[in-house]
Symmetry: C2
Subunit: 341 residues, 2 copies
Amino acid sequence: METPPFLAACRRQPAPYTPVWLMRQAGRYLPEYRAIREKTGFLELCRTPDLAAQVTVDTAVRLRVDAAIIFADILLVLDPMGAGLEFARGDGPTIRHPVRTAADVDRLRDPEPGALEYVAEAVRRARGALPPAIPLIGFAGAPFTLASYLIEGGGSRLYARTKAFIATDPGAWRALMQKLARAVTAYLDAQVEAGADAVQLFDSWVGCLSPDDYRTHVLPHVRAVVGSVRRGTPVIHFGTGTAGLLEGMRAAGGDVIGLDWRVDLDAAWSRLGHDVAVQGNLDPVALLAPVAEIRRRAAAILGQAAGRPGHIFNLGHGVLPQTPVDHVHALVDAVHELSAR
Amino acid sequence: METPPFLAACRRQPAPYTPVWLMRQAGRYLPEYRAIREKTGFLELCRTPDLAAQVTVDTAVRLRVDAAIIFADILLVLDPMGAGLEFARGDGPTIRHPVRTAADVDRLRDPEPGALEYVAEAVRRARGALPPAIPLIGFAGAPFTLASYLIEGGGSRLYARTKAFIATDPGAWRALMQKLARAVTAYLDAQVEAGADAVQLFDSWVGCLSPDDYRTHVLPHVRAVVGSVRRGTPVIHFGTGTAGLLEGMRAAGGDVIGLDWRVDLDAAWSRLGHDVAVQGNLDPVALLAPVAEIRRRAAAILGQAAGRPGHIFNLGHGVLPQTPVDHVHALVDAVHELSAR
């Protein structure tokens, strides 16, 4: 079989067209997904392998995208660590036992082996059900983003507690990041073992940091995680608001660097170096625009990538719930058409 | 009289030490300010020239900073345009009559001459009361940031309505930006006329945009405003999350470009070119850290500026309400001490 375009792009090999998938492609904008969620809570869905696998596979096939991503959440790994992870209806995640002191860090457990077996099982079922030409992506939150949820107790705008923790007790911070890096490593390993063809590390909120804080307090821990992924499995290293952190993220590692829309793709790729692949970078809000405008913006991004092997088209962050489904189809078709070589 | 260090830095002339002031230096972290606000609403304070001038002057003198900034709000100019600007206690601003259509844009009025006379009067009184060595900064919101409040009806996280407006009706967007640019121009002109020694244009939320959208839909309007400020009055052009927009902001204009903490100051200055001054760029959250850590971080930023003329020390955004007052003093002292030449 020929290498699927997504995996070829991860390895910076030529592909017949630019592969495309969308973060949160299985999400609330899809009526089929909303129908499932009416009967099933979010965490329950994540924990039910046949349902999670079904959502994963059906979405990828229906959208004709070039990769599936296992249905799960970046925070799942925090649950077997004893954080008390909850998703209230309509709200973001909350952490029942926030981490505020060195003693709280000590109390966090290393997940038992097999604690997240339900995700591995979903990966196995999804991989079994997917057409061979569609690679399956496993994923996890990166240590900083996980730590920020643990410390803030949920989402945040300023990350004031997290940054104060770093500045006030750098030793406890290091211990926390090491513990998280270990847990994430084991979790990604289990997903690869179960059949994930690539993995994405979501450092979604790392863009709140100064480059200096990133280099000192984050980079070594990301490097430890990326370095431990089984050789040959591509790693996508993603964050948002990272226009000032690209060199640091590159140094931390990854075969593919995820870019958001707040950078020009060509300028960012030059800064990263062309010896790494890139993924991105359409503004998710652009999918609310008329289809002609969506096509124009897709063409502009493909123009910046200039047909260079190693570009995976994606949004700069997840699909928004208010996105019209036919706009998503239009984007996928536009990328395939406009990039056909 | 010698040129005050702040104005010298705006012009990239040598100064005996690096000048420092802080965005929102007169704010809720100060007990004196909270005492005044217990008796006076926010907009009422802005509209009472002797009180606004007093807050402006007392804060600058007390903090021993190198510039005062007139006590006002970036959104004041929207009020005489008929937007229905309100500040509810403890909440952010809200716009009673949001702009959602081309007809809404048409309905927005050009402010009557003198509509913001209370700000000009506060500038006159503050300038009269300030020591001659302390320059006074006037300011306004930049067209994009003002438009985003008008369209969203208040603050926003995604700016989805604003971006959809741009993509769906670029003609109405242009008309809106031109109207705002005219109003801002007249407003800044009135502040300079009244005695402001420099002005800052706050494009606080422009960092949500892609560089391409910035160049097409924002840059020409900022350029119109900056180009109309009276020659010889330094213009500081500020935004947050702008690590991907720096070249565009530079092209739009300003004698000084404001940087936030999410870029390395030295890398950002190189990208901008050393023929422009820079302002920044300590993370406001860093002021919650122990004083020794604040000093270390101030030293790191001064190190990146490398004593080059044309650096004004500031935070990357406004002082947070929970900031200890003595940490602010410690920062100002540290900048003066560590940069003394």
